[in-house]
């Protein structure tokens, strides 16, 4: 589980997009493919997604969900869960089988004859009958033709890439320049243009523009606008929050005090607000236990989770309690997390030195996570 979550986090957007294209290409074979080869991996993936859903209130999960949504909008694919998660399992085995089919037919060719080659490939396809193997066959065919027609240097170059599209292009322009530097440069340019294509899909209004400079302009504008949006939104949140504190205080008195099942950490909090808090609600602080905090473990969540178990002030406790309703009321939990982070920050700014109890709390939370 943990490993799966890790791969999920490590996967780049590029890999995902590439995989989605492949998925769209092979969608006809998807059922066979799923049942034959990677059913276990997809199960794992479902697990990791469930885990992310369980972990609930953390901001990371929200971001991940938003990512999935963005992907779903960009490419209309039959199943979101698989498009999101399979790539690490698919991409890895792909290069491995590629060399295998080449040696297999060759001994048969040498022993039986050249005519046997054509029946050989269908047999190989019939063995597994999946889209993945079809792709492998294509790769093998290309590899053979390449070996017969090309010098060694190019072969090495293409081995480095291990991608079908790349070495086809290199091969087409072979007549121009064959020294390794220009070949490498060409491959590099290929790579850049390929990624630029993905970027073109991602940035709105970039489809009609041709030319690298114009595209870069558009990308720069988009990134800048997004960054400015973040600035603006954080400004807005900063302006909204002080009023929010009071309103949430009232809410807390109304709703959370009766609900005694709320779990939240009992920690020394170095701020005026929390002194006031402890004065008001000593019992609530006593009840505290860590059980509610450590339900789902996701390594990417660790940091955020820590902030949740960090100093708690009045509004947080209320909002934390609302994290049980993650599925029904997502907005309130996001708010809770954000509030959490902000308050934490304010506490930090006020007193840089922490009481020992605070650290012990952190350690304890960490231990619990290890046990899970």
């Amino acid at each position: 589980m943990l490993h799966c979550a890790n791969t999920l986090g490590d996967m780049t957007v590029l890999e995902r997009m590439k995989w989605q294209e492949e998925e769209a290409f092979c969608s006809g074979f998807s059922s066979v493919f799923c049942s034959s080869s990677s059913s276990s991996s997809s199960l794992h993936v479902h697990d990791s997604i469930m885990l992310a859903a369980e972990s609930g209130s953390a901001l990371a999960e929200v971001v991940a969900q938003a990512n999935v949504q963005a992907h779903a909008q960009a490419h209309v694919s039959p199943s979101i869960s698989r498009t999101f998660s399979c790539p690490p399992t698919l991409v890895e085995p792909d290069p491995k089988p590629k060399p295998k089919p080449k040696p297999k037919p060759k001994p048969t060719d040498s022993s039986i004859g050249i005519k046997k080659r054509k029946p050989d490939n269908p047999k190989f396809v019939a063995e597994n009958d999946s889209s993945k193997d079809k792709r492998i066959k294509v790769g093998a065919d290309d590899g053979e033709s390449k070996i017969t027609g090309h010098p060694n240097r190019e072969e090495e170059d293409t081995k480095q890439n291990s991608k079908v599209s790349d070495y086809i292009h290199v091969r087409a322009r072979r007549g121009q320049a064959t020294d390794s530097h220009s070949l490498a440069e060409r491959v590099r340019r290929e790579k850049i243009s390929e990624r630029m294509k993905y970027l073109q899909d991602l940035v709105p209004g970039c489809n009609k523009i041709t030319g690298k400079a114009g595209m870069l302009d558009e990308i720069i504008n988009y990134v800048q606008s997004l960054q400015r949006q973040v600035e603006f939104l954080s400004m807005k949140l900063a302006a909204v929050n002080p009023r929010l504190d009071f309103s949430v205080d009232d809410l807390f008195h109304k709703e959370v005090v009766p609900a005694c099942s709320v779990n939240f950490p009992n920690m020394g909090v170095p701020s005026d607000i929390t002194n006031y808090l402890q004065f008001n609600l000593p019992q609530q602080q006593q009840i505290a236990s860590y059980g509610g905090l450590v339900t789902g473990i996701n390594p990417s969540d660790m940091g955020l989770r820590r902030t949740i178990s960090a100093p708690v002030s009045m509004p947080e406790t209320y909002l934390h309690s609302s994290s049980c309703f993650t599925q029904t009321l997502p907005s309130s939990t996001w708010e809770g997390d954000f509030q959490n982070i902000c308050n934490f920050d304010f506490d930090q700014a006020r007193s840089p030195s922490f009481p020992s109890q605070f650290f012990s709390g952190l350690v304890e939370a960490g231990n619990l996570k290890m046990e899970m």
Partner: protein
Amino acid sequence: MSLSERKKAIKLSADLAMASTRNKATRWSRALIANASSDGNSNKVLTEHVLGSSSPSQRVRKSFTTYSHSVRIRSCRNILRRNRVVHRTKDRVVACFAAKKLVQKRTRRLKSLLPGGKSMDDVCLVEETLDYIQSLRAQVEVMRCLVTASELMILNPS
């Protein structure tokens, strides 16, 4: 706490949250975390607590790799410059030069926009931009939801 301070703190924590979702797999997230933790005193404390303990050895390793990377890029560029001497007509050379300049200028600007973009080569830059745009979108989405939620809370506190 003044408004600007609050805003700075909110932005910092939002950025850190965004970076931590990538789990240090991408360069921009690592650069973002490194920038935040090396920026100011209070920032440092905050980042350490948001992200857990980020080991200093990792940071040293990272800086080392970036250094070697930049050296390699420079040597590659020199080689390319040597190779560029080809027979061409004059106007074509001028046009090519102008186009290249345009692209270079924009690439430099994009590098300045991306966190940690200074030490990236072109391929890496485009990849990281892909990832960064995706994350920024998600961040904007989340923050917008936060703002609407908090506004709703104020409007009807019940």
